[in-house]
């Protein structure tokens, strides 16, 4: 009888060793290696720090304007691939007709201090960047009209 128990328990321990992941229980009742799996996913948004390291001219203009705290990729979209290799992915051309009104179209629920326009009345179809420089949009604030070329690198 003792032998049957011993074999049964040994089998249980062997099965347990096979089926319970190695890192289970390291931090709690879960597989600790899952943390690494999740942390290893690829990044899509490079972060404004990566943009500013090359595009310092744009940063210079933007940091003095009212869009200083708007991160680059809020408008330009996820560009980690471009940050890794500037030739691999070129940022898509921005459509100001969609982009500006996403934030600035008037709406009752917006904070009262936020600059809002009824775009149809405000510009009547004229693109926003005819008058406003997107990196420093308040009229009269922009120091230069032609920003956008990278200052560093081979180009």
């Amino acid at each position: 009888m003792a032998a049957v128990f011993a074999v049964g328990i040994a089998l249980f321990l062997v099965a347990r060793a096979i089926f319970v992941p190695k890192t289970f229980g390291q931090y709690g009742h879960y597989r600790a290696a899952a943390l690494k799996d999740i942390a290893d996913k690829p990044i899509m948004f490079a972060g404004h720090g990566a943009c500013e390291s090359c595009h310092s001219e744009v940063y210079e203009v933007k940091s003095k304007g009212v869009h200083a705290h708007v991160a680059c990729e809020a408008c330009h979209g996820p560009l980690a691939k471009h940050a890794d290799d500037p030739t691999a992915l070129q940022p898509p051309k921005m459509d100001v007709a969609v982009l500006c009104v996403r934030c600035h179209e008037a709406g009752v629920a917006k904070p009262k201090t936020f600059p809002e326009v009824v775009s149809a009345e405000h510009s009547g179809g004229v693109p926003c960047n005819t008058c406003h420089q997107p990196h420093s949009p308040r009229i009269g604030d922009a120091t230069t009209a032609s920003v956008g070329k990278p200052s560093g690198g081979s180009k």
């Binding site: 003792a2 328990i9 899952a34 690494k36 990044i43 972060g47 708007v70 629920a109």
Partner: protein, 243 residues
Amino acid sequence: MTITRRRLLYLLPAAAIAWDALIAGTPEAAPNYNMTDHWWGFLIDVTKCIGCGTCVQACKAENNVPDGYYRTWVERYHVADWNFENPQVDSPEGGIHGFPASGKEGGKNFYVPKMCNHCADSPCTQVCPVGATFVSPDGVVLVDQTYCLGCRYCIQACPYGCRFLNPETKTASKCTMCYHRITKGLTTACCETCPTQTRQLVDLKNPNDPVHKFIETHSVQVLKPQMATRSKAFYYGLDGSVR
């Protein structure tokens, strides 16, 4: 020595402990990021939200969220009069394309971004039958996609409606607080792209974090405090009508 029943019963626990030590293996070498140094949360300044939906778009792009599902979303509230028990709330497509004009003038109107609250006493992790969801040592509620059975217990348990069953993987899915970003020194995709700094990542173990300082010195509250989930999504300027 003969093995009697009594001796066997003494022997087995000792053997089990010895075997457990044998199979445990060596813990993984610690990476550069030290989990025990952080305790992550969010600060959401409702007074700044403009309902642009950039956060929802960014989350989708960063985390490959399927169409029609949201790890974060923005709600628009309209409280017509004194009766804040009955607000009118809408969130067309999670607010991913912003909000059309509501036509509701008067009363109170405001936006509230929502996402996983990364509760320290999270109801969702407590109900998982297989140990596939957990609170990490740095305070992030995560799902182990390889162990999730897709039983949906956690989806029902979350008082904030933050989880969904991913239609592609058939496993529970939720905000990871961009764990792949915060462990590399970046902020989350939603906090990175929020144009008004409504959303900000906060390290509650770092006393020098300016966002931590803000929470320390301002009146903030969490959603559904009566649930005692120890939520770590702190809302500033939240109206009583928000659920």
